[in-house]
Symmetry: C2
Subunit: 502 residues, 2 copies
C-alpha cells in the first residue's frame, strides 16, 4: 500500500486510524479535508468518534471543533456529531447528525461565505488550529502531497495547524495528480492580484507543501467518496432548466451575452444537472465552467465536447459518474482544474470573469429576498449559505431557482417576506420556478413583486400573494417596499385557514 | 470664462443652461455626475426642472430617469424630483424631495450596491442612456475633460450616453487637475486584473476622454458644491469612536492588525469624523484610506501627517473644510486620488488590500443582521445601501456602528429582528454603539445575541431584549436562530405598552 508514499520520512509515520485518533485530545480544533463528501477523510474521524463515545461511556467529556471546506458526509460530520463529540463547526455542513446537534443547540455553528473561511482563519479570528486531517492521493519523493477529489481549505489547514495527520486513500486514482492548481493568496497588506483571467488558467503548483516535522501520522485507507447516487431530473426540475436555457438564448440574441455565454456556476442538485444536460443538446459551443462543485451533469457536458474547461474545488460524482470519470481520467486532465475554495469562490475572479450563476433556495419573497439556509420559521439551520453569496453578489447574471412549492404542494416557496435573509434584493437578478422566470434587473421593489407573483408563484398561491400585496400597497406607511408587518409571518397559516387546507 | 475651455470645438458649443435643458426630451434617461453633492451639475438639471414645471402647467407630462454616482443634493434630485419630473432613479439618493417621491410610490427607485452601477449599466441591463450631464473643471487643448470634485460613474455615463452635456464649473479649483485616476475595467470576458495593490497606486489617466461629436452643449457655471456644514461630534458619537479606536489598538496588540493598521474606509457622518479625529491624536502612523467619500475628518488627518494617502471617489467637504482644501490643494495633490466608484468600491480591491470598514446603520438585530435603508416598519426608503455592501462583504474587519437608541431615546436601534435586511449576519464582524462593542467574529448566532444584548443595547431596552431572547430560546422550534415570528415585529410596541412609554 505504501507505494503511494514515496518519501521515507512519511513512510515512517504510518499507523492505524485508532493510533492517529489517540493523538488528538478533547477540546482540539481540527481542520478536516472535504468539500462535499469528496476528499473527506474516511478513517481517522471515525476512529476519533469511537474514542469520544468510549470517553463518554467512561464519564468523560470529549468534544472537538471541526473546520472543513464545506459538507463532509458520514465519515466526518456523521461520525463525530453522531457521537455527540462536536462542540463547534464551520463553515458549512449538510449532515443529519450535525444538523440535529446544531438545531438542538448543542453545536455552535458558524455559517460562512465559503470564500471567507480560509482568510478568516488565517487572520487568527477563529483562534488556534490544533490538527489538520487531510485525505491525499499520495506523497511524492520530495515530500509533497498529491491532493484528492477536493481541495477546499486543505492548503490553509495544513499551513495553520500545529500537527498534520494524512490519510493516503488508495481508492482515489493517481490520475488526479496534475489536475490541481494550488495557490494561497498572501494576507493583506501583501496580497497581489490573482492572475486568473479565464477558467483554464493555472497559476500555482499541483501539490500541497507541508513542513514534514508537523506530520504526526500517516494512515492508509481505501474507500470511495460517499456521494449520493444520481437521480434523473423530474418534470419540475426539467421545466426550471428549460426556463433558464430559454433565458440564456434570449440574452445572447439581445447581445447581452456572448455566443459561448460566460463561465457557468451552478449549485448542487437536480436543476443544475438538468441545465447542464440541456446545454449538452443545445446550440452553445466552447462553454466554460467556474464553480465550486463539479457534478454528473457537468462531467457529461465535458465529455460531450460542449464544455471546454471546468474549474472547481470538488469532484462530487455519483457512483455512476465516478466510474465514467475513472474511465476518462487521462483525457479529462487537461479539462478539469481543482483549486482551493478561496479561489473557486473568489469575488475578484467571479466578478472579473463575469459568471452566470445558478443557485437553489429554500424560500424567496415577493421583493426578491432569498432564504437559503433556515427552515422551521427561520429558526433551524438546513445546511448553510455555502458559496451562494460569493457567486450571487459578484455574478454577471445572478439566478436563483426553486420549485414554486414545497412539501408536496402544501407550502409556497414564494412568500410575502422570507423568514431569514441570506441574499438581499440587491443580489438576485433573475428568479426562476417551473411556473416561469422573473427578470428583476433594474426594477424597483413594486415592479419586482408584480413579476414574481405573476411569473414565479404557483397559481394556487398567486391570489393570496396578490391580495396581500394589494392590501399592503394600500395600507403600508411607505410605498417603496409595501408590507404589513403585523401579519406578514401569519400570511400562510391565515391563507390556509381561509381556504381550508393545512 | 471660457479660459477653462481650451479646445475650440468645445467652445463653439457654449450655451445657457436653459438652452441645454431644451435639448432633453421627456422620457429620456439621464446620467448625471455627482457622488454626494460634490461634483453634481449645478445648472442644467435646475433648468430641466423649470422646463418640466412649465410643461406640467401646460398640461403635458415631462419626466426623466436619473442615473448618478450616488446622492446629488438640491441641484439635481431636489430640483427634478421637486418638479415632479422624475420617473426613475438609481443607484442611490439622499434628498427630501426624491425620498418623498419614492415613498409615495411615484418614483421607481433601484437601490444598488454602488460598485455594481457602472458595469450593470454597461451590460445593457438598464436600457439606453440618452444624455450625460457632467460637471467638469475644464477642457484641455486636445479635448479631454478635467474631472471635478467627484468621479462617480462619470466615465461610464460619458461612454454610454448618446449625447453629452458638460458643465464647466469655474468655482472648482484647477488644482484638481492631476488628482484623478480614471480607469474603466473592460467588460467580461475581456476584463483583466485591476493592478492596484495599495491606496496610492495610480493606474489610469487624469482626464475623461469623450467623442467630441457626442458633446451637444457646454454650459458655464460658477457655484460651490452644496455640502452640509460640519457639526462637531456629540458625546454619543465620540464614545462610539473611542470604542472603535480601543478595539483597533487591541487588535494591533494581539497581532491581528499591522502597526499602521490596514486601509480605512468610513461611511459618512459624525462617528466617522470622530474616529478620524481620534486617529489624529492617537499612536498610529502612516495610515492609509481607501474609501468612497472623503470628509472633514479625513482631510484633517491628511493635513496632520498621520494619513499618508487617501483614495476616494468624492471630496465631500463642509464649507470650512472646502476652504482648508483650497488653501492646501497643491500639497494635497500627491496625497489624494479620486477614482471611478467602480474602483473605489471594487470587491477585488477591497478584499485584496484588506480594508477596515466602518459603516452606519438604521437598526441591527440581536443576531447581527443590519438594516441600512428602510424606515417606517421596513416600508419606506431612507437613502439607500450605497457602498456599505461593497465594503462590508469584502472587508478584513467589517464594523457597523450606531447610537443604541433613536428618536431621543424612544426607540432601540437593537431589535429582535430587523424590518429589512441589507447586510446579513455573515457580513457583520463587529457591532459598536456608545454602550460598547460586540466582537462577533467566529460566533454562532446565540453567542452573538448574548454579546449584542449585553454590550450594545441601551440598558433601558436590555431587559426586554433579553426576555424575548430567553423566551425564544425556550419556545423556538429550532435552537440555532431562536425566534418567535408571531410576535417578533410587535416586540417594541408590546414593550412600550407594558412599560407605559411611547
Amino acid at each position: 500500500m505504501s507505494d503511494r508514499i514515496l518519501n521515507a520520512s512519511f513512510r515512517s509515520k504510518i499507523m492505524s486510524a485508532d493510533e492517529a485518533a489517540a493523538l488528538i485530545s478533547s477540546g482540539a480544533a481540527i481542520g478536516s479535508s472535504g468539500f462535499t463528501p469528496a476528499g473527506a477523510p474516511k478513517a481517522v474521524p471515525v476512529a476519533l468518534a469511537k474514542r469520544a463515545a468510549a470517553a463518554r461511556e467512561a464519564g468523560e467529556d470529549f468534544k472537538v471543533g471541526v473546520w472543513t471546506g464545506a459538507s463532509t458526509g458520514p465519515s466526518v460530520d456523521g461520525a463525530i456529531a453522531g457521537a455527540g463529540a462536536m462542540s463547534f463547526r464551520m463553515p458549512y455542513q449538510g449532515d443529519t447528525n450535525c444538523r440535529k446537534g446544531i438545531n438542538s443547540g448543542e453545536i455552535d455553528y458558524v455559517d460562512m461565505h465559503l470564500s471567507h473561511a480560509a482568510p478568516f482563519a488565517a487572520a487568527g479570528f477563529l483562534g488556534k488550529l490544533d490538527y489538520a486531517i487531510i485525505e491525499i492521493v499520495g506523497v511524492t519523493e520530495d515530500g509533497r502531497l498529491i491532493p484528492s477529489t477536493s481541495v477546499g481549505n486543505n492548503a490553509t489547514w495544513i499551513d495553520l495547524a500545529d500537527k498534520v495527520i494524512l490519510e493516503v486513500n488508495e481508492f482515489q486514482t493517481t490520475d488526479l495528480e496534475g489536475m490541481h492548481d494550488i495557490y494561497r493568496p498572501a494576507m493583506p497588506p501583501h496580497r497581489l492580484p490573482i492572475p486568473i483571467v479565464k477558467p483554464s488558467d493555472r497559476i500555482g503548483e499541483p501539490c500541497f507543501r507541508v513542513d514534514p516535522k508537523k506530520v504526526v501520522a500517516v494512515v492508509n485507507t481505501n474507500a470511495s467518496d460517499i456521494c449520493a447516487p444520481f437521480t434523473p431530473a423530474d418534470q419540475t426540475s426539467q421545466t426550471i432548466a428549460n426556463n433558464i436555457l430559454e433565458f440564456l438564448t434570449h440574452e445572447v440574441k439581445k447581445g447581452r451575452l456572448p455566443q459561448n455565454l460566460l463561465p457557468l456556476q451552478s449549485g448542487v442538485g437536480n436543476v443544475a444537472n438538468a441545465v447542464m444536460a440541456g446545454l449538452q443538446h443545445g446550440a452553445f459551443e466552447h462553454l466554460t465552467a467556474y464553480t465550486e462543485v463539479l457534478q454528473d451533469g457537468t462531467l457529461d457536458l465535458l465529455l460531450s465536447g460542449k464544455l471546454d474547461c471546468a474549474s472547481t474545488t470538488s469532484l462530487t460524482f455519483s457512483p455512476e459518474a465516478q466510474a465514467k470519470f475513472l474511465a476518462n481520467s487521462k483525457a479529462l486532465k487537461s479539462k478539469i482544474i481543482l483549486r482551493p475554495q478561496e479561489l473557486s469562490n473568489n469575488p475578484e475572479l467571479i466578478r472579473r470573469m463575469g459568471l452566470i450563476t445558478m443557485n437553489a433556495l429554500i424560500e424567496a419573497d415577493i421583493y426578491g429576498n432569498v432564504n437559503s439556509t433556515h427552515i422551521q420559521q427561520g429558526t433551524a439551520m438546513m445546511n448553510g449559505i455555502g458559496g451562494s453569496g460569493d457567486f450571487a453578489r459578484n455574478a454577471y447574471i445572478s439566478m436563483f431557482m426553486t420549485p414554486s412549492t414545497a412539501k408536496g404542494g402544501a407550502i409556497s416557496c414564494i412568500m410575502p417576506m422570507v423568514t431569514h435573509v441570506d441574499h438581499t434584493e440587491h443580489d438576485v437578478h433573475v428568479l426562476v420556478t417551473e411556473q416561469g422566470l422573473a427578470d428583476l434587473r433594474g426594477l424597483s421593489p413594486k415592479k419586482r413583486a408584480k413579476l414574481i407573483i405573476e411569473n414565479c408563484a404557483h397559481p394556487k398561491f398567486r391570489p393570496a400573494l396578490q391580495e396581500y400585496y394589494d392590501r399592503a400597497l394600500r395600507l403600508s406607511p411607505g410605498k417603496h417596499t409595501p408590507h404589513l408587518l403585523e401579519e406578514v409571518y401569519s400570511f400562510m397559516p391565515r391563507w390556509f385557514a381561509e381556504h381550508g387546507e393545512k
